[in-house]
Symmetry: C2
Subunit: 731 residues, 2 copies
């Protein structure tokens, strides 16, 4: 097909953008979205009812298009948000049901906007240079356009020429002009705000048959391809589909990527957008799902912890990806979501799900590189254990060896989280924010987001001299990242290892997590090796933010039972209450807690004396903005090198209903750590008398043989690391 012919086809297709064309071009299955609701499969039918309820309510209220005035959360802001949802869903309802009242409502709404839009200038609640028209920031104007243009597309071909002209010329063309010309700076960024803007502009281009709009959206204002949507797909995701700000923002960014890509695919299939960069967009969707546990996103960086796969952005994303791939694993995600979209892709998801075609999503151990070229650190996910009904393993360890992730990043290089038995055992605080709750500073990020949530000490990472990584300087942090040294998904001994030499000047931090299987011990077991090296003397603090109720500890602390002090005065330390403090001359100890019927013991050894601090978050918080959560901190004063070796051991069970308790105490009696010639040797003695060594050479070559003699015992192994059975003790 010639370019001209294609363009002509595009224009015609553009007038029927989302609904009628899409699926028919993908397969021959009849999925006529105009059949009556009663014949739809359950998921789609429920979605239809939900949309009817919302839009019917809006119709009852009548068309309300207020003059923009309020900032986020205010009346005009919320009304324009409701309006774009109503345009979007109203169009879908008209397309599916054929009921003219939906068409008329969307038309009347857009005619009101045609009155309003030409009168607008910068929004009066402007907060910075990224000012919008309908909203206080341009991002919201882009979101409005992405949704409204889809609803308009569903009715445009049914309008008389006059109405169509008015809406084209007085709403959509000026909105595109505003986003792509007047706000050119935002439009040409490599940033998710620009993704929204290019998606809105490009989709409008397809609808109006305006290839200039489309080209600017795809290739940037100058059509050079240096910016624009295509370039964004190349620079905003790592080669593994990881978005640098983290899972919470990855979810948000996905919507315009996939919705616009879907429009490109339908209008310009020869672009093969879903194959671009080795299928990066579909990869990003799957990676987003991988970044979750029991449906909830790993909450690292600024993240609202109750954000899960059940979110509007991913209903669209999963349906579009399923339309492209027919991957049955995506159906099980849709099943978990219990939602889909009122598009042919959604009908397809709903039908195939009802037909029992879903398969478990393949949650697995994987390494997600960060940065456009995959060389700016990585997020490592180790998974293990029996799978639940959704096919998800019981245990997940996340090692955050990634880059800072821009303004929403936290100062937590080489931090980690552990999930087990359905719960977050080693925690990440997420953001200090109560989204949309007015009493909490209008729902915005709280002051404690900076003073606590972003600080290094609020994370499971190494803190030097009671300061945050990079001195808490976000701009500096964005230029520096860890190096991922080694990764192995070998089932009996999963490993991830990284080094960070620039979080603190002159201090090199190396951290290795191993998840071994050891006969006689339950799963999961996590060996955590932290090694810091510096020419200067420092204080090293290693906090572990755990979830659970303390059962016992094997040291004798001084307890602050009747007056509770705080740990420090700044960098997050001011928010930590100190419950108890123990000096450990031999640098060894163990703490056991219970969570949800399972016991966990954290057993540790330092290369010299340690202080163990039992504490809780929530000090210096007169507004009760923080959650109160326990932590143990290991503190070492060291010159030269500091090392911390620990074992996190899950064991036993407590069943209150059956009044049955098993193995409430650790099955390990001793942990010994030695560092010899840069190799780590952890020896475990079990209460059964069995003994094991976890030997780590730190040499990634699998063929290299290593040998160490320790207390008369010879340890031999090949490669990076190994579990070695040792002669047992008599018991």
């Amino acid at each position: 097909m010639s370019r001209a012919a294609l363009l002509a086809a595009t224009i015609i297709a553009g007038s029927l953008p989302q609904a009628a064309l899409a699926v028919a071009s993908q397969d021959n299955t009849s999925l006529d979205a105009t059949e009556p609701a009663s014949s739809h499969s359950p998921l789609f039918a429920a979605e239809l009812e939900r949309a009817r309820e919302f839009v019917d309510g809006m119709i009852t209220e009548g068309v309300v298009v207020p003059v923009p005035k309020d900032p986020g959360g205010g009346y005009t802001h919320e009304q324009h948000k409701r309006n774009f949802r109503a345009i979007y869903q109203g169009g879908q309802l008209y397309r599916i049901t054929g009921e003219e009242r939906y068409r008329d409502y969307v038309r009347n709404m857009l005619l009101e906007y045609a009155e309003l839009y030409p009168t607008l200038d910068d929004h009066p609640a402007q907060a910075n240079q990224n000012v919008g028209r309908l909203f206080w920031q341009v991002l919201n104007d882009a979101m409005w356009l992405v949704h409204a243009v889809q609803g308009y597309g569903d009715i445009r071909d049914t309008l008389n020429a006059e109405d169509r002209q008015r809406i084209d010329d007085n709403v959509f063309r000026p909105a595109v002009h505003f986003l792509s010309v007047e706000s050119e700076r935002t439009f040409n960024r490599i940033h998710n705000h620009a993704t929204w803007a290019t998606a809105g502009v490009g989709m409008t281009g397809y609808l109006l048959g305006d290839q200039d709009m489309v080209d600017r959206a795809l290739l940037g204002s100058d059509k050079s391809g240096e910016t624009g949507f295509i370039r964004q797909t190349e620079l905003l995701f790592s080669p593994d589909g990881y978005y640098t700000e983290g899972p919470y923002y990855q979810r948000f960014a996905l919507l315009p990527f996939l919705v616009f890509a879907d429009a490109i695919e339908r209008n310009e299939p020869e672009r093969r957008i879903f194959e671009h960069r080795d299928g990066i967009l579909l990869k990003a969707l799957r990676t987003t799902v991988q970044l979750s546990y029991r449906g909830y996103f790993f909450p690292f960086n600024d993240a609202i912890r109750d954000k899960s796969l059940r979110t509007a952005e991913l209903y669209e994303g999963v349906a579009i990806a399923y339309g492209q791939t027919r991957d049955p694993a995506l159906l099980s995600v849709a099943d978990f979501q219990g939602r889909t979209v009122l598009r042919p892709n959604g009908a397809l998801v709903s039908r195939d799900l009802a037909a029992g075609m879903a398969e478990p999503f393949p949650f697995r151990t994987l390494l997600l590189s960060d940065g456009p070229d995959g060389d700016e650190g990585a997020v490592a996910i180790l998974r293990q254990g029996p799978t639940n009904a959704e096919g998800e393993p019981a245990t997940a360890l996340i090692a955050k060896n990634s880059s800072q992730g821009m303004g929403h990043g936290h100062f937590d290089k080489l931090a980690w989280q552990l999930y087990d038995n359905g719960n977050e055992i080693v925690r990440d605080y997420g953001a200090a924010r109560f989204l949309n709750i007015e009493a909490k500073r209008g729902g915005r990020y709280l002051p404690e987001n900076t003073t606590w949530a972003k600080s290094s000490v609020a994370h499971n990472t190494l803190v030097v001299d009671q300061t945050s990584h990079f001195g808490g300087d976000a701009k500096l942090a964005d230029t520096l990242w860890p190096t991922q040294l080694y990764f192995s998904d070998a089932p009996g001994l999963q490993v991830t290892s990284s080094v960070m030499d620039s979080a603190y000047p002159g201090v090199t931090m190396r951290r290795t997590w191993l998840m071994p299987t050891i006969a006689g011990l339950e799963a999961p077991l996590v060996i955590d090796l932290v090694h810091a090296q510096s020419d200067e003397p420092h204080q090293y603090d290693l906090p572990l933010h755990y979830s659970g109720h303390i059962m016992e500890f094997d040291f004798e602390p001084i307890s602050n039972t009747a007056e509770r002090p705080v740990l420090g005065s700044d960098n997050g330390y001011q928010h930590i209450w100190v419950d108890a403090e123990a000096g450990l001359q031999d640098g060894r100890g163990a703490l056991t807690w219970i969570l949800d019927g399972r016991f966990y013991t954290y057993r540790f050894a330092g290369n010299g004396p340690l202080t163990a601090i039992l504490g809780e978050s929530g000090a210096n918080d007169p507004e009760f903005n923080l959650r109160r959560e326990p932590l143990i901190m290991l503190r070492a004063q060291r010159e030269g090198e500091a090392s911390f070796a620990s074992l996190l051991e899950a064991h036993g069970s407590y069943d209150g209903a059956a009044e049955q308790t098993l193995d409430s105490r650790s099955l390990v009696s001793d942990l010994n750590h030695q560092r010899i010639d840069g190799m780590d040797l952890v020896r475990l003695t079990l209460k059964s008398g069995q003994r094991f060594a976890i030997a780590v050479s730190h040499n990634p070559d699998p063929a290299t043989a290593h040998s160490v003699t320790l207390d008369g015992e010879s340890l031999e192994w090949d490669g990076f690391a190994a579990v070695i059975a040792l002669p047992g003790e008599d018991n």
Copy 2:
């Protein structure tokens, strides 16, 4: 039938006690428990598999009958417990499957006991005068007998005469002698320990055809009926089927009551045991279910909070009660439990459940009198709101106006709890105990059970002069209880009101809870009126132990942000951290928190200045034995009368997935409380401008008219209480 003929019939029946006879005597439905497992309905089939797994494992281990040595939790203790479960389930498996290996295993086990039992004297781990033979306390010996005699009954008729004689004479007759003669003091108590003993002895009597045993079990050692099982059914439950120790122990006591009653019914149906005292045993079973929320028992008094309807005692109880009543509501309890028993009653439950015959259990508002004559206070349960899939209303308020409940009682007269939206909003701590967790003082009650969990300040009750009710004297407490003054389950205005004049010398405490429906406000709303009267000046503390995260408060406290003191030195006050403290000259304030996506505002007014204290449990707890939970305490120094009026208002919602928040702030702008001529008048002003009065005359006569003029407004109503709409304010 003559007595002699009946006795003969009983003897024959006695050799086939639980299985073959039971259901056939109740209806003509074929429920042959010997049919192959594959034909059983799912619940029963699953139970069969579970029993096979356990007993097959025991058979593999071989018969192990150790000489008694260890106390509770120790090896010989646990082994004898496993043995009685194996005898019990082994017999059932033989009866159902006909597989001789089960019969042989039970026989061989009992023959081993026939060797051991005659050699036994008092258990070496004797702790007090209630010493057992197989176990350290006689209660466990009784539990052994109750289970073992049932298993023996399933195989006895298949044994040769010699084996039967040896087991009869060397195990069961001496066990009966031990429990009913040598331990006569326990046997003749009116106490749940005696229920276990009489049940074991009586069931053995039926099996061996020994009417003397049966009569002693039913009527006490002297057969006078002053003690024994029948008398226990008359004295241990109130007329409403409430067991004075509370739900946690009610559950435990139910098993021997229902299992023995079932045996009586099958062997001596003319006793009509299930009709005795107006059907008290079946009533007690239903009351036990009423004392739960989402399946979990109200945790007041010493109670392990994770105890739910999913407990062995109630699998038996529900099956037996269903066999008696065919009440389809009991099927939904069994469905929730997901368990049943390997008896014909269990097969019946399983079959009818599979046939879809279950109906929701009728959870409802009800008053449960306490004491054998129903005149020792009461537990009031107010329920309201939309019901869940199990037919349970969203909201339940529990007013604990009952008696002390013996040694496991807490000092919490007129305390309350509130459940809503699936959660416990106003909390009862339950017991300070980690059952069976060795690290926590061997799993026994912790010291903090006395110093915190039992203390008045740990409850939602009025505390005078920082001391517990009755000075913390349990013996005194057992002789005194509140008087229930009024109760109404009227849907628009549920009410419960009580008075207690002996918790503190010279102080009369009156407390009334109302659950009104008010147009413009959401549900639930709870009005709580506390009134204390004394001739002496006192300090009155009213704690509210709530669940949730603070959103805001309308007072300006002094915050202990960097050093946190404790509230007092004893009577539980030593366990309270003080976060903040506010002096309220006008005695008014409000606190809002969030729990699980719903907001709650506690708005209060005192009859004079108040101090509001925001605190948390967990001080003076070096072993971390306590949970850390928030509280607000209202403190008043008063001469004469002290009153506290409050409104607990649920409002709005937070949906993190949809990023939608509704009504996060209270819908009420003002609460005004006046007490005039002994009547309480609470006036609410809503932010909408609407105004309402809740008027309480405290006169139970529904026909009496009341009239009060307040600030020029005339309030008129009839009866105990009313909600009155007042002229609104302009808004």
